[in-house]
């Protein structure tokens, strides 16, 4: 397992990022954590639909995005808000999606991120298709798709990996192995020792990396992205991490795992080790922490306000994006919906 920054903040090798960029990414992880905790709190207040927290996976998501160019495609899941935001998806739209508003699925025009995939497994091959289109156009853009350990059990994982390898598609397969598919632990999902070794089935490189290590994730994704960009094809990355919280706000993890496990993993917190690393270089102190936490809270509060201030879709508008132009039968149904026709 590839590691650069140890849990105690020490370096194993050389840092792939300078201190300033490390501070930027640390700050991004802080914001992400604020978003995540705020979302869980809001869900408990009934302000959000079911929420899938990602606490513990911040380094994986922020590190992965840092390894990409700004116009590379990201195709990710319901648990990947930090990754999507880091690639340009605004917090307020991520919140809006979770309030149950369709407009949360519409990123701004320049943002190369698809709305999050709710189905497990089906979205990876979409990244293959997007990267394929870019390859045909020789645009230099690639795609990264993020998915969980559980998603690797789906047939669509296999087809996506195989097609990407066969056609040398510039797609990075980024698996956040957070230990569970809802209640099913990783070792009951598959008999392979690692997820990374599944790459062998496709003649593709596979790398296992400490997913709580910002540097290792960044470095690995960046290498895979540049490999993809230069036409050498896809890479599978297994980022080993842990979901500290429940699967979703509707889940009760005590049914399937011991508290000890989470306690153990808290010691490998992805923010903590960067904090130590930076403070040893005089680039972190309590005052800065307090400042960025306050900024983060402000940023997320603003996003929540924006999302909650959106009026719901107007009557009939739920039928307006089924096709580019509404066909006659949807016209008729829309008239019924708004009460203009029986």
């Amino acid at each position: 397992m590839r590691q650069v920054l140890t849990p105690s903040g020490g370096l194993d090798g050389t840092a792939p990022l300078d201190v300033e960029l490390t501070r930027r990414l640390y700050r991004a992880m802080v914001i992400a954590r604020v978003y995540d905790r705020k979302s869980t709190a809001m869900q408990k207040q009934g302000r959000l639909a079911t929420y899938a927290p990602f606490e513990g996976q911040e380094a994986a998501q922020i590190g992965a995005a840092a390894g990409l160019e700004p116009d590379d495609w990201v195709v990710a899941t319901y648990r990947d808000a930090a990754l999507m935001w880091a690639q340009g998806y605004p917090w307020e739209l991520l919140v809006a999606g979770r309030t149950g508003d369709e407009r949360g699925g519409r990123p701004p025009d320049h943002v190369p991120v698809l709305p999050p995939s709710i189905t497990v497994g089906g979205h990876m091959v979409h990244a293959v298709g997007l990267a394929w289109a870019e390859k045909i156009r020789s645009s230099g853009r690639i795609a990264l798709t993020s998915f969980g350990d559980g998603a690797t059990s789906e047939g669509d994982f296999h087809e996506a990996m195989n097609l990407a390898a066969v056609y040398d598609i510039g797609c990075v397969f980024f698996c956040q192995n957070n230990g569970y598919a809802i209640s099913l632990p990783r070792h009951e999902q598959t008999r392979s020792d690692t997820i990374a070794q599944k790459a062998i089935a496709y003649g593709m490189p596979g790398v296992q990396v400490d997913g709580n290590d910002l540097f290792a994730v960044y470095e690995t994704v960046h290498e895979a992205a540049e490999r993809a960009r230069s036409g050498q094809g896809p890479t599978l990355i297994e980022a080993v991490t842990y979901r500290i919280g429940p699967h979703t706000t509707a889940d009760d993890p005590t049914r399937y795992r011991s508290d000890d496990e989470a306690v153990e993993w808290r010691k490998r917190d992805p923010l903590e080790r960067v904090r130590i690393y930076l403070s040893e270089r005089d680039a972190w102190d309590d005052a800065w922490e307090a400042a960025i936490e306050e900024e983060a809270a402000g940023e997320i509060d603003r996003a929540v306000s924006l999302a909650e201030a959106m009026p719901p879709l107007g009557p009939g508008e739920i039928l307006d994006a089924m096709f580019e132009t509404r066909p006659p039968h949807l016209d008729a149904q829309r008239r019924q919906l708004v009460g203009e026709a029986p």
Partner: protein, 330 residues
């Protein structure tokens, strides 16, 4: 099995009880699906079964719907009686190939030599403000697959009885379970094994002016609409289809021949929903008794909306009552 002859239960409890009774009675029955063991399933329908029957018969699986259904199919061909749980109807589609190309066909393909006595339980329908894919109603798709039976209970009693009938059935049965009725009402549910036969509609309420036909989740709104109209003196006959395939056309025809008016309600999209089949059957078989055109009150031909606009989609009492009025005023 408890000594009590019946207990007041929700549909969720009744389904859990059915599985318990079946696992207890028949060693060939097993439960298989994602998270059905340790967590007792997304909706806790399989709660406690792992503890009682063990991991060989209550099987937590990887996320692999096609594999789950395909493996359960193999088990069924091999003589077991697997009950598959898929987590939501929107996640049943990866298994669709297995269902339409194998599960529904092995008896025919092998001319009775092999069969697939298995059950596929699928929570379906909206109304709980869920994420995309968590509110689908696709009973019409399964109904169009020859070789499948499809049932859709709307009450705790029927849920248990239909599930047990499905488990006992020598052929594959898809059980569509209305999510928002899982815990909506309670009623007396007998202890032990009993079956609600697959096929016959339930005549919930007799009436003479108009027939309401619905199933599953939409029974709630349909009953409420019937009550509202009865208060105005309209006599409504309410049919709970309960089984979609085999479709009890005779009962529908008998009712509509009597009332001359029909309102069909479903949550699924309108185009080629099962309501079309019902309306077509009515037109074919009791045209001359009809006092008014049949009415369908259905979901729109759209993606099921998210929480904030869900109410724009779901058929409600007002729409059903309005449709009934149109038949009465025609």
């Amino acid at each position: 099995m408890s000594a009590a002859t019946s207990t007041v239960m929700t549909m969720a409890q009744a389904l859990n009880d059915a599985l318990d009774v079946a696992l207890d009675k028949d060693g060939d029955v097993l439960v298989i699906g994602e998270d059905v063991g340790r967590t007792g399933g997304v909706f806790r329908i399989t709660d406690g079964l792992l503890e009682t029957y063990g991991a060989a018969r209550v099987i937590d699986t990887p996320v692999a719907e096609s594999g789950i259904v395909g493996a359960a199919f193999g088990m069924a061909v091999g003589g077991l009686r697997p009950v598959v749980e898929l987590q939501f109807m929107g996640f049943s589609y990866p298994a669709f190939d297995q269902v339409i190309n194998h599960v529904s066909r092995i008896r025919h393909r092998s001319q009775h030599r092999f069969s697939a006595p298995m059950v596929i339980r699928i929570p379906y329908g909206g109304g709980i403000g869920a994420a995309e894919h968590h509110s689908e109603s696709a009973e019409a798709i399964y109904a169009h697959v020859p070789g499948l039976k499809v049932v859709v209970p709307s009450t705790p009693y029927d849920a248990k009885g239909l599930l047990l009938a499905a488990i006992a059935d020598p052929d594959p049965v898809v059980v569509c379970e209305p999510i928002r009725l899982y815990r909506a009402v309670k009623e007396e549910v007998p202890a032990g094994w009993y079956e609600v036969p697959i096929g016959p509609v339930g005549v919930e309420r007799e009436g003479t002016d108009v027939t309401f036909i619905a199933w599953g989740a939409m029974m709630k709104e349909t009953r409420a609409a019937a009550s509202a109209l009865e208060e105005e003196g309209v006599s409504v006959e309410v049919l709970d289809l309960r089984t979609v395939v085999p479709f009890d056309a005779d009962a529908v025809v008998a009712s509509v021949s009597k009332t001359g008016r029909v309102v069909i309600v479903h949550e699924a999209p309108r185009t080629v929903g099962f309501g079309g089949e019902v309306a077509a059957t009515v037109a074919e078989r009791c045209l001359y008794s009809l006092h008014a055109p049949p009415e369908r009150v259905t979901g729109w031909d759209s993606v099921f909306p998210l929480k904030r606009s869900e109410s724009q989609y779901l058929p409600d009492v007002a729409r059903i009552v309005a449709a009934a009025r149109r038949t009465l005023e025609a």
